[in-house]
Subunit: 223 residues, 2 copies
DNA sequence: ACCTGAACACCGTTCAAGT
DNA sequence: ACCTGAACACCGTTCAAGT
């Protein structure tokens, strides 16, 4: 005997949208299918989100909220917090690959105004705080931030694509230019996926190493 | 008095598609607008490319061909060749931002079979050769390759987005979490763009440093 | 052999009409 | 105040019909 639901909430729409995109792919997510999934007319979505682009932007931010929830709070160092952020980013978007490629929508959301992408802004804030704690400020803080963002966004985009193709894309590509050792020739999907993951973490380490070096240079010149 | 053009070539379609996407954005590129631009019926595109997805994939590979052409061949070291590759990638996709976000189509193209993404494969081959020359092989070669790909793809995707919004997105975001020094508060579009560019190159350096370190470890353990 | 035009199913979106 | 349904313009795609 739940209270009668007079009107849906945004979250109901977003959760339904996520389910559709996860199960049937991004193209299956239409205003009509979404309305249908929520048990309302197809056009109702327009009073809630304005238009479909805004819906997709909010969907991306909604999933970013799941990243925030997974980061946790007890980390030994700012670098480990950033590692946890990357791990959360990775695991959440691996679970929702259709949403990963909606990243480009963030630009529009942020441009659109305050509060339209609260979780993305919060996530940025977490990264920036960690970088400050590592000793970065000013121009180098921004450069460090952007290095991290670029790498994790690119890596997750390519990986979610590859997973969507059962890693076959990577295997074909690597074999084509003979990059493989004998092991690669017989590598299973899972083994290739593991290697891709190693590359992700190697890249994250490389970026963080560079960030720490910038921080050291900053504090050295300040003292 | 050029010879009468009995039928268009794929390149005519691709160049027209590129012009439409550059001028009016990706949404303006429809089978009808493309047919119109080429002076043929809207549906003719289907005999040339099969369907629109394939067209978009070939468009991305076509632009990748421009990257190849811009890399040049006289480089003092493999690392400098890779730097030139990044510079070419950057300048070409800055000129065609609408195509930059088509990166995800590559996966489908490669999966689809041989020869559907020749330029992307060639570009991969160049990177792999350079990494080999640096001393990488086997698993580390693949990890190095993937680190470079992830970073450059992510950086270019975010930067082309930001440029599309006149850098306003980055300015808003940075000011929002107080990352700025006093200079940032009054930074112009161009100055922010320059800082973004610095971040791109700092990231590239970080990745290449890590790659070189892997190469050194490899050769040390081999000797 | 290559191109066209009508046609189909579907999409984002609007708005007057319902309750 | 919230929802619906018809309607519009447009899109990707197919295919029989033209030359």
């Amino acid at each position: 005997m739940a209270a009668p639901r007079h009107s849906a909430s945004k979250e109901v729409f977003l959760e339904a949208a996520l389910k559709i995109a996860d199960q049937f792919g991004p193209d299956a997510l239409t205003t009509r299918s979404l309305g249908n999934a929520v048990g309302l007319d197809a056009t109702t979505v327009y009073r809630y989100f304005g238009n479909k682009d805004a819906l997709l932007g909010e969907l991306f931010d909604y999933v970013t909220g799941k990243v925030l929830a997974e980061i946790g709070s007890d980390h030994a160092s700012p670098r480990e917090l950033l590692m946890a952020m990357c791990a959360a980013y990775r695991s959440v978007f691996y679970a929702h690959p259709s949403v990963a490629r909606l990243n480009g929508r963030m630009a529009d959301m942020i441009q659109a105004g305050q509060g339209t992408a609260p979780n993305a802004m919060k996530l940025s804030g977490i990264v920036v705080s960690a970088l400050r704690e590592m000793g970065l400020s000013g121009r180098n803080l921004i450069i460090g931030y952007q290095m991290i963002e670029s790498f994790i966004v690119g890596a997750i985009m390519l990986e979610t694509e590859a997973h969507g193709h059962g890693m076959g894309v990577r295997i074909l590509r690597y074999r084509a230019f003979g990059a493989g050792t004998p092991e690669l020739e017989t590598a299973s999907q899972d083994e290739v996926a593991e290697m891709s993951d190693d590359a992700l973490w190697a890249g994250v380490d490389a970026v963080f190493d560079a960030v720490e070096k910038m921080a050291d240079a900053d504090t050295a010149s300040t003292n």
